[in-house]
Symmetry: C2
Subunit: 201 residues, 2 copies
């Protein structure tokens, strides 16, 4: 039987999401057929407005409703301390752990030569510019404790040293098991890791 177009169109979109295969996509689409139309409309609107109603912070590249983001514009935060994370979800995880009062810089990725992602393909030049222009005392590198995350951390540390800026570069404490995903760490582990950060030499 050839496919039912309105259902197939949704299946195709759902299949484009990570972790959702063809079977699951089909199941979800048929499940959604049972929703009332106004629920489907709210869903559609949420998808359609997602990017329109969000901005990327011009300073730290976090995603928020306004730019600069609420963290960058919060005068209670210590802007001389920058925590570098891979993704906005990592930032959210650290915020939830509730131990950090500095600001952030979101790289939106890591250096990954195998996938052809170099330092200029992530928001790393912007970070170096910030270090040059802003009054930064400490740079906490909180990329994931994976191969790429470590390599990116090393690269940043080297670059900052080259620049000759008087910035203390630290790496988030290895309370996190190697290969784990920062986003899924529990709050205590994240707090510990924040406390246990150490100088990079």
């Amino acid at each position: 039987m050839r496919s039912i177009r309105p259902i197939q169109r949704l299946v195709d979109q759902l299949e484009g999401l990570p972790g959702i295969g063809p079977k699951t996509a089909q199941r979800l689409a048929y499940y959604m057929l049972r929703f009332p139309q106004d629920r489907l409309e709210r869903f559609a609107e949420a998808v359609e407005r997602l990017k329109k109603d969000t901005k990327m912070c011009e300073r730290c590249f976090n995603v928020d409703e306004e730019s600069p983001c609420r963290i960058c514009s919060d005068r209670g935060r210590n802007s001389s301390q920058i925590c570098v994370v891979e993704t906005p979800l990592d930032l959210l995880a650290l915020e939830r752990s509730d131990g950090y009062t500095g600001v952030y810089h979101v790289l939106h990725g890591v250096i990954n030569p195998l996938n052809n992602i170099g330092p200029n393909d992530i928001y790393l030049p912007q970070l170096l510019k910030r270090i040059k222009e802003e009054q930064v005392d400490e740079l906490i590198i909180a990329t994931n404790p994976s191969m790429e995350g470590e390599a990116t951390a090393m690269y940043i540390a080297d670059k900052v040293k080259e620049m000759g800026e008087k910035v203390r570069v630290t790496r988030i404490g290895r309370g996190l098991p190697t290969g784990a995903d920062l986003e899924y760490a529990d709050d205590t582990t994240l707090s510990r890791a924040m406390e246990g950060r150490k100088e990079m030499e």
Copy 2:
């Protein structure tokens, strides 16, 4: 940190889907932030049009673009043979297995007293009406081989017997392991089950 509303709105919708928890919903929403706007718009449209562009077949209650559905209006199909399934996805699975040339009846559920679903809460009265009004030679009951599926099959067989119609009532062959889901069975198992159907007494 309070949540970012446009993202939270999408997270709420995604969380309403089966098998998607809060963490996954958040991941998906942030993943979708990287889509170009036109892709989000196609996605939104697929959600919004899903029900508008589909109809429930007035005869067999399958979901299709027109009513009667393409199976009911296909004159090459044997309309005196009705296969009863729980959901449109079960129908699709049987169509894929490619051994069946009759028509269908989709119940959209099973009798489930624990969830307060009785015979009149699914499309069962409509099935009995079809048996009375149409020229039916065989009724193949292909509900899932679960507790509720078996109970529903028994209920239908009893009802048809009560009606005194000269209809052969068969149950899909138990090539399927008990408790399994019809939708996920492989094509050969489904074909075998179709062939191995047996009289209900």
